[in-house]
């Protein structure tokens, strides 16, 4: 009997482990991809895809909206919706259409757990001027009025961002800020790096920060994350260890929600030189900027002095007793 129960128990446990987590939330949406980066030379009929999924157990009817955005004031890549584009073509959104199959849609129904793949079509005519346009494709749940008393109805929306770059243009920009605290006691050392894009198209700068010690040796290298910097904006650049499993870095990032570049080296002593080496695009330009900082582990030194003093005192007392 015992032998029969064991395989039954194993089978039951295995089956339960494959049961997916049910979303009890009345509204739950997912979207992919989170961003579409499009570079087009007129004339062009751009076709790409967006997948929207209803991950709840309730049916959803969602309207589809397009809204221009720019970067939020925090310079961290978050979106701020605006009323109109700064670019020359204020009717650019009229050239953007969303299709489900062959049918253009402005709203769609999603059954529980259903996903739909939509086609985003952007028709760029030959005479379209060179410029960038940034907009979000937003899916917002519609609501059903009730006859209840005194209520607020929450509607949920989810968006994907489109960076549309029309025409050619050279990357232009500069390092607007590169700094670190002049004195640190120990690492990780935070660097602030901001890049200004003065060109007409969005860029994704690449590069690193090299750290040299007082002997001129390169002892640290931190790669930056190639995040997008929108035209005519400045963005704070994070480092490439954003998904590091280091607990100390995770804690630092939670305490400092603004993008920083962290050099994780902990024990530091003396003067250091950090140089940011940035390439704005595959064809340049290359930018460099240097900053300096000084590290002195004052707490560690004080503790060491105390311990050594204590040891010396014991030695003296032992020696005196031996002499006696």
């Amino acid at each position: 009997m015992k032998l029969r129960i064991i395989p039954l128990f194993i089978a039951l446990t295995a089956s339960l482990s494959f049961v997916s987590t049910a979303h009890a939330d009345p509204l739950s949406l997912a979207i992919s991809p989170p961003i579409l980066q499009i570079q087009a030379l007129p004339p062009a009929k751009v076709t790409t895809f967006i997948t929207i999924m209803n991950t709840s157990n309730n049916a959803v009817n969602a309207s589809v909206q397009l809204r221009p955005f720019t970067q939020a004031d925090l310079e961290n890549g978050q979106v701020k919706f605006i009323d109109k584009f700064p670019g020359p073509d204020q009717k650019i959104l009229q050239k953007v259409r969303i299709y489900l199959g062959n049918q253009e849609v402005t709203s769609l129904d999603l059954a529980p757990k259903q996903q739909k793949k939509l086609t985003l079509l952007i028709d760029i005519p030959e005479n379209e001027p060179v410029s960038d346009y940034y907009f979000s494709v937003i899916f917002i749940s519609n609501f059903s009025p009730t006859d209840k008393t005194n209520y607020s109805q929450a509607q949920g929306g989810i968006a994907t961002n489109v960076l549309l770059s029309i025409g050619k243009g050279a990357a232009q920009g500069d390092i607007s800020r590169f700094s670190t605290p002049f004195y640190v006691e120990s690492g990780p050392v935070p660097f602030t790096l901001a890049i200004h894009n003065s060109g007409t198209h969005f860029i994704a700068p690449q590069g690193n920060i090299l750290v040299k010690n007082m002997f001129g040796q390169t002892i640290g290298k931190i790669d930056i994350l190639p995040v997008n910097v929108l035209a005519a904006t400045t963005r704070l650049i994070p480092d490439a260890s954003q998904n590091s499993s280091s607990a100390s870095l995770k804690t630092l990032r939670e305490k400092n929600p603004q993008p920083f570049i962290f050099w994780p080296e902990k024990f530091l002593l003396g003067p250091y030189q950090a140089t940011a080496n940035i390439t704005l695009s595959n064809t340049g330009p290359q930018l460099t900027q240097t900053t300096y900082f000084f590290a002195f582990p004052i707490q560690a030194i004080i503790i060491t002095i105390i311990i050594l003093s204590f040891i010396t005192l014991i030695l003296i007392r032992v020696k005196n007793k031996v002499v006696l």
Partner: protein
């Protein structure tokens, strides 16, 4: 003498152990490259060296690069591979205030949840279609200006007096800290009584961020508290509005 040597050795070991860092990451480097991994067991990391970069992550969705004719499309971020994706949920879409009594504030809550694995950052902006309003005749419960009369859709302030009327909200992080707007963090709101107005879309106000983050994460949750209080002169009726939350990944 032997004892002294032993003592010195012990002291050295003690000092060394205090000030030696734990190696949380495996780092290998030479003059040409540096490999940095999250931990010994990780299956992802970034390598770089000699101007060549390679990023790798275990399994999951690849971001696509498509080109055709006169255009190129990159879908997703090349530097992120994750199965978490980007999703947003609201646990309660119907916020029922019930019958309102003058001078007796009513609070209700719902939770917003974000899973953000496909972008390093997100924000959830919110606006109200209009203040709580009787649709038939347009009579409104105005948005609160808080106890000191200063709060708006961009400024938060304390609201604890039962003689302060109106409608507003506050945000409290449930899981990951610092996900709510900084007006509600422990530095700016130590007593936890700050409230704000929702941006009034009918008045042309700009939607405001209520929740944001700059990292990847799963099931990051905040609680929104809605508060409404009416004066004795408030007209009787059914007051309703819509609160629209839009979750947008960072670019």
């Amino acid at each position: 003498m032997k004892r002294l040597k032993l003592f010195f050795l012990s002291a050295f070991i003690l000092i060394f152990s205090i000030f030696t860092n734990k190696a949380l990451a495996l780092t290998m480097s030479n003059n040409n490259f540096m490999l940095q991994m999250g931990n010994f067991n990780s299956f992802s990391g970034v390598t770089s060296g000699n101007n060549k970069n390679l990023s790798f992550t275990s399994g999951e969705t690849a971001s696509g690069l498509y080109s055709s004719g006169n255009y190129k499309v990159r879908a997703g971020f090349q530097y992120i591979r994750s199965i978490i994706g980007f999703s947003f949920s609201i646990d309660q879409t119907f916020v029922d205030f019930g019958t309102l009594s003058p001078g007796s504030p009513v609070t209700r809550t719902n939770n917003l949840k974000i899973s953000n694995g496909s972008a390093y950052g997100y924000s959830v902006t919110a606006f109200e279609t209009h203040p709580l309003q009787i649709i038939a005749n347009g009579v409104m419960i105005p948005d609160t200006t808080c106890d000191n009369g200063t709060c708006s859709e961009v400024i938060a302030s304390g609201w604890s007096s039962p003689l302060t009327y109106g409608f507003g909200y506050r945000c409290d992080a449930v899981t990951t800290p610092n996900q709510c707007n900084s007006d509600f963090n422990s530095t700016n709101d130590p007593s936890g009584t700050n409230f704000k107005q929702f941006a009034n879309n009918a008045a042309g106000k700009t939607p405001q961020s209520v929740m944001s983050g700059s990292n990847v994460g799963k099931n990051m949750q905040v609680q929104i508290t809605y508060k409404v209080n009416i004066s004795a002169t408030q007209a009787a009726g059914n007051y309703i509005n819509n609160i629209v939350y839009v979750a947008t990944p960072s670019f």
